[in-house]
């Protein structure tokens, strides 16, 4: 009965048990919307095309995947010779979340829309249903605070009737992928749920080092997928949403064509992102009171890490860095887009079993 919810900057992902496939069913929705023009036939057009939309105060907003498709379809790149021509512009994509947390720079309508997207995705709770969602760690390279984000979402999810708990995003990867370290103090010599997890999402990269389920290091850095798209788009001179689409559909980090500006730019910024995350983690690890001697497994997940060739790129950067710990292995999570949601579901199920046991 339990549910997991990954509230990401780019995607909202719900996870729930699916007895039919003896597994998990994941439902993903784009966390974005686009304001439509306010003409007389707007609503008719939206309905005829079966586009997902919301109506507020006589304004229409296209939601989710339909918003990004329309934006890309209707955006025309103009050159300087067209500057004197007055064009009707397509409005900008609105992101209810930025850098991994609720975008408080946007008006409250944006927060209301993300809550509508979530409510549509997960529905109201059945009696006593557990829900576990994830939140980013405190960022080490910016002043953002995650307290407001966590509190808003917790209160909202509770209002849907759920028993709510929140875990760090990268800890969810540990719960889903179960990395194991050696521990001579254990009867079987193994410490499960012990390792390092990197979640390369759109807004932030979250990093966690856990030992026997306990997070000993947990933080985030602001350089992740969105940063790569923005910087690479500037270099290549194209719209950010076009770069995002290109990255998701065409990029292979093993086969970079350096003559293609888009690929070359993405390759550089991917490398930079991995270096930034690893160096911050190494610094935090060396500050631990008790140093861990046994080699540690690294698990990587997230949409930004899903591009072909990412693990090879990660390994290449890893081997060039001097680290304060030994690496046992590096692996990509089984389903990198859904690992966080899967970890949240695992935790929610575990909490549900605990509650039933207490009864």
């Amino acid at each position: 009965m339990a549910k997991g919810l990954d509230i990401g900057t780019m995607f909202l992902v719900k996870s729930e048990v699916d007895a039919v496939v003896d597994g998990v069913s994941f439902t993903a929705e784009r966390n974005v919307f686009l304001k439509a023009s306010n003409s007389d036939d707007t609503e008719t057009t939206l309905k005829e095309n079966n586009w997902s939309y919301a109506k507020y105060d006589n304004d229409f907003y296209i939601l989710g995947e339909d918003a990004i498709k329309l934006k890309n379809l209707l955006t025309i790149k103009t050159n300087s010779s067209n500057e004197n021509i007055i064009l009707t512009k397509v409005s900008e994509l609105r992101r209810p979340m930025k850098d991994g947390i609720l975008n408080t720079g946007e008006e409250k309508l944006s927060m209301a829309i993300i809550q509508k997207l979530i409510a549509n995705l997960i529905g109201k709770a059945k009696p006593g249903e557990n829900l576990c969602f994830c939140a980013p760690g405190d960022p080490v390279d910016s002043n953002l605070s995650v307290v407001f984000h966590k509190t808003m979402l917790t209160n909202f999810l509770k209002s849907l009737g759920y028993t709510v708990e929140c875990i760090p995003e990268s800890l969810a990867i540990i719960f889903s992928e179960r990395p194991v370290a050696e521990d001579t103090n254990e009867p079987d010599g193994k410490a499960p749920f012990s390792g390092i997890a990197f979640s390369f999402g759109a807004g932030m990269c979250n990093v966690c080092f856990a030992y026997k389920k306990m997070p000993l290091i947990n933080f985030s850095v602001a350089k992740s997928g969105d940063w790569i798209d923005a910087e690479a788009a500037k270099v290549a001179g194209i719209d950010v949403s076009v770069m995002t689409r290109f990255k998701e559909k065409n990029l292979d980090l093993n086969k970079i064509d350096v003559s293609d500006m888009k690929q070359a730019a993405l390759d550089i910024f991917y490398q930079n992102m991995i270096e930034h995350a690893l160096s911050n983690f190494a610094r935090k690890f060396s500050q631990l009171e008790n140093q861990i001697e046994s080699p540690l497994e690294i698990v990587v997940a997230g949409g930004t890490a899903s591009v072909p060739g990412f693990i090879e790129k990660f390994n290449s950067v890893l081997s060039s860095q001097t680290l304060p710990f030994k690496v046992k292995s590096v692996r990509l999570a089984e389903n990198p887009l859904y690992t966080v949601a899967n970890g949240c579901l695992t935790k929610a199920l575990s909490s549900e079993k605990n509650s039933e046991k207490k009864k």
Binding site: L12, K14, V17, D18, V21, D22, G23, V24, S25, F26, T27, A28, E29, L46, K47, N50, W51, S52, Y53, A54, K55, Y56, D57, L63, G64, E65, D66, E107, K108, L109, M111, A112, I113, Q115, K116, N120, L121, S145, V147, F148, T151, M152, N155, F156, S159, F175, S176, R178, F193, K213, N335, Y338, N342, L345, T346, L349, S350, K353, N354, K357
Partner: protein, 187 residues
């Protein structure tokens, strides 16, 4: 006074001022909040630009902008000249009588030494200057409390949003026989 009227048929909430203005009501905000808070209110600006509220009357308060204090330490030319003369005379005493061409080098050296000393003195004077910056006495807002207040206004907006429920996202089903075991292990 800062009188605003609600032009809509719904309650307008200004959460940063903790004010609710009923449909078609007129209210003097200065009765409820400080003028400084009113001028800084983000929600009020949004409501005015969205034409949900309109200013009926407000008194204009002109504040004198504080003029920036610029530190211009005066270069004491007499002091500089005295320093140069002193260094030159010391140099001349310490060395035997020199031909005319060497005097130029001596003077140049004396000038650069003196200017260096004067520059470091000026730097010390600038660094010791502490401008009187206004102290921010505003209490910081508890983010949890802010979240509670924001949620109330978000809920009001949410109730007025209609969606068409056309699609519920992309669904993927993945076999995972370890899920139950993992959940048991986490207990």
């Amino acid at each position: 006074m800062y009188i605003v009227s609600n032009l809509t048929t719904r309650t307008v909430i200004l959460s940063d001022l903790r004010v609710e203005i009923g449909p078609k009501k007129v209210i003097d905000l200065e009765q409820i909040a400080d003028r400084a808070d009113i001028d800084k209110s983000h929600d009020l600006r949004q409501a005015l630009s969205g034409k949900r509220l309109a200013i009926t009357r407000h008194s204009v308060i002109k504040t004198k902008k504080a003029e920036p204090k610029i530190v211009q330490p005066a270069i004491d030319e007499d002091k500089l000249a005295n320093m140069i003369r002193k260094v030159i005379s010391e140099e001349m005493k310490s060395k035997p009588a020199q031909p005319a061409s060497n005097i130029e080098d001596t003077v140049q050296k004396a000038v650069s030494n003196s200017v260096g000393s004067l520059m470091s003195e000026l730097r010390d004077r600038i660094n010791s200057f502490q401008p009187n910056l206004p102290v921010n006495n505003e209490p910081s807002i508890n983010p949890e409390k802010l979240a509670e207040i924001s949620q109330k206004s978000v809920e009001k907006i949410s109730q007025s949003i209609e969606t068409n429920d056309a699609k519920k996202g992309t669904k993927v089903k993945i076999v995972n026989r370890r899920l139950d075991d993992l959940a048991n292990e986490l207990m």
